[in-house]
Symmetry: C2
Subunit: 356 residues, 2 copies
């Protein structure tokens, strides 16, 4: 039997609460399917670990994770530990360390999901954002000069390599070709006169090899506007690390809220484990109350199923999420319901097992 | 009599069409008010000029503008001239050259303006974004190495100076104190480990001097989400050049569309002329058809009135824009009407003169 070894980093705040439900769902799917199973190993890394050990994870943390087929991450960050430590040293470290250079974030308005936009129907919000996930604005390069002096100046350098830019854009073109959908690049060459001019050039170059793919190119400011005004413009979207960060939160906002947004951090070559996570944060304000929405974590569980080739099951889990929202019986407060995190997870499991 | 000397750079595409209406409105206001007047001088700079002269404006362009009290700009950019040339060499050159380090962009849902958000009332969208306008991500610093080689790498450096960061944040605190409104900083320290950590630090430092101002600090991704989900969180907003660019287009989207968004580029010390513009682009697709919405240009005209101390008139022009939208008689196609650019301008003038 096919055993998928998953490293679980539940993390901080609501992380453990929502991941519990995702794990529950994965176990149920495996039990029903019968021809594969999951083996979960938990790592207590995160801000609590940091407060005790002075680091977010052990020095050999990545090495430990190498033994797994995938990482399932809850959320990172908690008051008391500066974000630029907690996030950079755990989440971003794994993304970069494992060369998870593709961040796949579906922006899809599911049936029953609350949409804050007027006059928008479900079929108008159905895209996949392919975000560069390993370099660019997030490279961490920079300097802080003349600290505390009047001439103090701080530099932050985005690093866009030929290799890094080509591979993400190529990934997106492949996906667009495979799915027969349009591809939209989001950049900002009119202001970022090196990085984004280069980005646009590579987008065009690679495009020569995919003449059958219909393409668009938008400035990030215009794209933000269109996300709200005409989201149907977008099908497959490819963009840089920072722009992808912004645009996918905006995508989450129009497609039902952060409680419903999942992301896969892929190393497509499968040399390193890939990582799956709800894209919401650790939400300290509602942690430990059992009211966090687990649907984003469950959606990432469905991405895990896809990743291991169980697409039929991945799709079923999405269907079940939709059904739970349409039924409106078991939803957390952020979605207008009164159910607990656990009750939502149980409901999903119940619908799943009734499917047979 | 007080004569305000305005340099008009109508620019490209729909620029001249919408600026005409703004000029019309300013002239009418001056005629009614009687105690001040405008003197408009036109500069034919832009992409056509570029195609003829190989530059967007003459070498002594900024010098020529120095003789004016303000610049009124339409729009820049046209197919055939790369954006990173047209925009950087005209619009951004003026912003930077004249040290217009404050970009003031109201995001206010006027009466009668179309809002794409469900369940949002007018009072929930009423903010002013103060965008850093002279440095940061737009500094233009960078390099492009090993061109065409596999090791090709492109660097784009954001430059955040103590002076530049302090003055914009201080401007925003002053405005928040003066108006008694909350101040929200938008940054991204969890990923941009130099520039935004510095930004957050300065925001806190300066805040010590303004203990009476209530503050918030959001990550740019979260802020984008809240713009759509809970815009009432924001009153005065201060942010960097790039984030301000993105967030104000998003603001325009929720507050009636780009046809209604204006921006003032201020040199608060008034050593250099300030510049006023609708924030939409040159919209080549609808240029020369007389259907562009002039309301954003007219809103910027109202900002010009404010800037010269005629706030009462500035407010009246805004009222008239509202009335025109409420009447719904004379609106351009983008707002669901059938009027021409000129008809909308005429209507605004008509309502203005009837006010007396
Ligand atoms: C937590 C933060 C560093 C991260 C990012 O900016 O990538 C998050 O916002 C995300 O989108 O996954
Ligand atoms: C045209 C472009 C360079 C400009 C900017 O990015 O600042 C525009 O989008 C704006 O917001 O004024």
């Amino acid at each position: 039997m096919n055993v998928h070894k998953i490293a679980v980093i539940a993390g901080d705040g609501i992380g453990p609460e929502v991941i519990n439900e995702g794990v529950k769902v994965l176990k149920e799917v495996a039990a029903i399917a019968g021809d594969f199973s999951f083996q979960f190993t938990y790592f207590p890394w995160g801000c609590e670990y940091y407060l005790e050990h002075g680091k977010m994870l052990p020095d050999d943390g990545l090495e430990q994770l190498m033994k797994f087929d995938a990482v399932y991450l809850g959320a990172v960050g908690y008051p008391g530990v500066p974000d630029h430590i907690s996030l950079r040293e755990l989440l971003l470290k794994i993304r970069k360390g494992f060369d998870q250079y593709v961040n796949v974030r579906p922006v899809k308005l599911l049936q029953g999901a609350p949409c804050p936009l007027k006059d928008v129907t479900r079929d108008q919000i159905d895209m996949v954002v392919i975000r560069e996930n390993s370099e660019g604005e997030y490279s961490g390069a920079g300097d802080w000069l003349f600290k505390g002096k009047p001439e103090e100046v701080v530099l932050q350098t985005g690093v866009f390599s030929r290799k890094g830019t080509e591979r993400i854009i190529r990934y997106a073109y492949e996906l667009a070709r495979k799915t027969g959908r349009t591809l939209t690049s989001i950049s900002k060459a009119n202001a970022l006169n090196y990085s984004m001019v280069f980005w646009d050039q590579v987008f065009e170059e690679i495009g020569q090899e995919y003449s059958e793919v219909e393409t668009n190119s938008y400035l990030v400011d215009a794209a933000s506007m269109y996300f709200v005004k005409q989201p149907e413009r977008f099908q497959i979207v490819v963009t840089s690390n920072l722009f992808g960060d912004i645009i996918t939160d905006l995508g989450a906002a129009i497609a039902g809220g952060m409680g419903l947004a999942a992301g896969a951090n892929l190393n497509p070559e499968r040399i390193y484990p890939s990582m799956f996570e709800p894209i919401h944060g650790s939400a300290p304000d509602i942690a430990h109350q059992g009211i966090a929405n687990p649907l984003a974590a469950i959606w990432s569980a469905s991405q895990i199923l896809d990743f291991f080739g169980h697409e039929v099951w991945g799709a079923k889990v999405l269907d079940v999420i939709e059904q739970a929202m349409v039924d409106k019986k078991m939803l957390t407060p952020d979605m207008g319901g009164a159910a607990s995190t656990e009750e939502v997870g149980d409901e999903v499991v119940k619908i799943l097992s009734a499917l047979q």
